[in-house]
Symmetry: C2
Subunit: 244 residues, 2 copies
Amino acid sequence: MNETGLHTFSHPSHEKALALFETGCERGAVISLFGRCRVEYDGRAASTLAAGNRLVVCKPDGAILVHTDEGQKPVNWLPPGCTHHAHVESDELRIESQRSTPDEELLIYFERVDHAVAYDATSASELSMTGTEADLRERILDDPSVIEPGFEPRATERETAAGAVDIYGVDADENAVVLELKRRRVGPDAVSQLNRYVAVLDRELHTGTQVRGILVAPSVTYRAQNLLEKRGLEFVSLSPRFES
Amino acid sequence: MNETGLHTFSHPSHEKALALFETGCERGAVISLFGRCRVEYDGRAASTLAAGNRLVVCKPDGAILVHTDEGQKPVNWLPPGCTHHAHVESDELRIESQRSTPDEELLIYFERVDHAVAYDATSASELSMTGTEADLRERILDDPSVIEPGFEPRATERETAAGAVDIYGVDADENAVVLELKRRRVGPDAVSQLNRYVAVLDRELHTGTQVRGILVAPSVTYRAQNLLEKRGLEFVSLSPRFES
DNA sequence: CACTCTATCTCGGCT
DNA sequence: AGCCGAGGTAGAGTG
């Protein structure tokens, strides 16, 4: 232990690893256990993982992750809000985590702990992100001509019977226009969604002229392209603004 | 280093941590770095994370994760298949990971490494799971009467113009029946999907009688319930079998 | 390789 | 608190 809140053991006995786990949890540290263990999960689904060398990370908010040597996703996990209990039994260090709503349980049985770390990590209070769908909306509202000359936004999140439309406006000839925004390449589902908005607004507005529907995204899939044409909808290629 | 493939340093110099990182990567180990760092991401979106105490995990398949003290999800990450480069610059240990399609980049700058671990983890070859949609299908095929007396499955994954139908069969009166299976509570989208199948099969089969559509899931949302009634579709409550 | 679909999705916003 | 929809979705399966 020292000023940075670090506590480690190499090849600890189960008792020493247990002590590190418990004092670390109390302190609010992130616990990392490297060792050979098997894992059982029971809850929304059920799974069993045969023994192997894993990395188990246990966070003070109650989240627990079991990582193997591959994949970005943990092979087993429980979300934040779980309670952990550890004890030594049958020559194993057993970590048992549970939560309710829904009831689920993760059992991690270490036959051997190779290394144990308790570390005081800090939160991510200052993560800032750009390049989202909100950025795409801002980009259009800042300069509506990126859609087409004369386009004029009238409302965002305009409510319809089919849900809220991203941007509602009019074109140079005062025809109603519905924009559906997607921050990345889109498939046929987005086209269907746009089509529902157009159909609903056609009915709700009952102006003589057809409501125009424009899908705004960086690109579309081949099938989405086909569907757009079949439905008489339009497409404008536009990406979210990336601020640095 | 020892027979379990473990290599650790507490409070290493940047050079020592760099050496551990590079030899560990070559060896195919999982590298864990505990220390104070800032993180920048640029790719599908863009983000900056101010300096703080983090856990950085770097896997031999190219995945890299940055964990804070909270959340199940890493605060920053890159998926498997990335290439990592590490070097010391401006009194920082800099880990720079990149990939293409899409182009993205994760920059992790350690001003201080508190602890470093290289560990030979093993894969999850033997994860077995139950309680999936496949289990639900098996449960129905084992005993079709759980749907209704007289129901008789004729095909699974039967192809239609709207995609593959989960289970296709006939009822006691030889009417065509389409089952759409979901392992958990479903919303209106599943009803729409089922409706497309029924509509398409009505046309493809052009039998005199209406094709029946049954949604099979543990439960449905309120709006899905409404939509089912509006479309003349049916619902059977059934959960996947959990084997232990 | 590109595209599509599912998920023990996770996460956040809203009713 | 539960429900619903989006995601830097991830990961698997398929043409």
